[in-house]
Amino acid sequence: MAAVALSKSVFLGTGVAESTMFKSTSVVPVRGHIVMTSNFEKTNRYADELKQTAAFISAPGKGILASDESNATTGKRLATVGMDNTVENRQAWRELLYSAPGLGNYISGTIMFDETLFQDSRAGVPFVDILKKQGILPGIKVDTGLQPIDGTDGETATQGLDGLAERCQKYYQQGARFAKWRAVLRVDNEVLPSSTAILENAHGLARYAQICQANGLVPIVEPEVTLGEGDYSIERTAYISEKVNSHVFRLLNEYNVILEGILLKPNMILPGLDVPTPAPEEVARYTVRTMLRSVPGAVPGIHFLSGGMSEEEATLNLQALQAFGPTPWSLTFSYGRALQSSTLKTWSGKEENWDAAQERLVALAKANSEAQLGKYKGPHPSPGGERILQALRLGGAGK
């Protein structure tokens, strides 16, 4: 494109007319205006809103409740407390989560599954309205699951690009303001992840991110280097995570994704499951180092996944991160299992446990909110828990 066309600077939102800017030879300093770069950002009418949304979600003391388990995965969770995988049970479970009193003090956004975004409470109130009242932004999982990459050692690609733009528009209309796409990479001592897997997953994330931004949704970019079996060291995880992030950001940049309008959802840096669990301070040191090395300051928030850490471990590690600040992005959480596990157990599908379960959820959210501020003191609502592991589920078509 011609350099001349681009030199007509586009300063939006300040009332300075383009023709004035172009003709004048003396420059009027314009404060607070938007600085545009790529054509994508210039022509994207959601650009401002994306940045505001991302800033809201990553505000101090706030984090994300991940409740976007597909129906199949939700079924597995319900089964652990003896419940059937029916639409009513799924509805009741999410209603418990979203209507927990005071949740909005600690949770700024919740990621939902397709079914849930369009669901109502049992009394007929749309979940998106319940969340809005709580001051919690609805988000939506938009990937349609993992598929194996043939010829690799159990590595996966994430599906979901086809028709993604239309789906994003539909979700935006329903009230969603951010989206999530989970890419998974396996790590070991020698050959994993392969360059094939890294490039495939980074590409998927970048395309997804751009399509989301074009349709008004802040993309959570999740390149999960997953906690797995083996004795690979914490240094190995750190190194691989840096590499993966480098590829991810390279492609985000190539696709002109607006970095002020994304959130990152990485793993904390942990060694393989066969290595003794490291102390929070060590996890924090490696994790912050990795983030400093690979995440530009324009990204407003880094929301760590809990990925198998016990509920208490997830809180303690989050708190330990804050000691290595100040950082240009907030170091916060997007927790699924670490907020839901004991909540579900407390409820077990029984009406008489409803309030106690909600209280457990809010207590867990509060603990993590305090940890984000570096102010968590304990005791933890769920002390001394085991790792909460789940197998990688393949073959989903978003079901």
């Binding site: 420059v27 020698e190 890294i198 590499k243 390279r250 912050v288 530009p296």
Partner: protein, 393 residues
Amino acid sequence: MAAVAMSAGMALKSSFCGAAVQQSGATAVAAKPQRVAMFAVRAGGYDEELVKTAKTIASPGRGILAIDESNATCGKRLASIGLENNEVNRQAYRQLLCTTPGLGEYISGAIMFEETLYQSTSDGKLMVDCLKEGGILPGIKVDKGLVPLPGSNDESWCQGLDGLASRTAAYYKQGARFAKWRTVVSIPNGPSDLAITEAAWGLARYAAICQDTGLVPIVEPEVLLDGSHGIDRTLEVAEKVWSKVFYFLAENNVMFEGILLKPSMVTPGAECPERATPEQVAEYTLRMLKRRVPPAVPGIMFLSGGQSEVEATLNLNAMNQSPNPWHVSFSYARALQNSVLKTWKGQPENLEAAKKALLVRAKANSLAQLGKYSAEGEAKEAKEGMFVKGYTY
């Protein structure tokens, strides 16, 4: 706190392309004693020293004095004050710069050309020793200059990788502790993807080699001022360039805590009718940096690239009005030397005045690094632009 065990499986040099872990000859892998610092260092190598050097150069209120003009370019400087281009004159000039008392309060490092690194003053004292005694770290230009890039749109690439490892090892022995490699990208010529890729890859290879031999690499992809493009276009190109640079640096396993950057500020092209205020330059430049530079990088030392002395200082000052994740400072050649040359004129009786002039400029930029500079009282000459169209080093 538990010691950080460095197991062989740590494999920092392993490729993820299915190749087996390389036990890279580092033998003893005993657990290292716990460090207070945030990061774990690799077994062996210069990592700790690199981080320390980079932090020292990026210390508050200080920046870099670039005096690494090749002999030919130095000749241009000397010619501008009527001096012949010979070794004696180059020695006299560099001696003036390296023996200015008190310079180390504002200058943390000085980049030299090879001749100067091995040169002595007229009293027989090594230039590197003069600098070290003044609290200034010696640096060395290691690239071998720009040549035409075939298959491009009349663009250039930077040479110098051949034999670089042995040269940098020798420079380290001579006392250098950081290095510099300057490549360029031209907006009027595209820039083409080829030129950007070549620039970024060359920088990444150079940086890896430097770190391997103990020198902190200054990473300098200069987006040239030439052209009539507006500031938005500069921002777009700068973002593209730095994205590739960091990607290739990571591919080459360069340690970001041990590098420094030397970017050009994001400004309109020299021939663009719309000019930008220092605040605008600051806003655009910081936006670019925040989008592309990981916070692990300790220091960003801007080049002046043809701006006037005062312009370069004002812009730097505007960038330091609020905290940044990295030290934001200067690595100026023309913007520090211009007044000095004009004051000295090659006359011994002007020596003291010339050294004072250097201190004036150095102090001004030191204040700018701290965000405390004011342009009141600056001389008229200091405000004159130094842009030269098609400038070659």
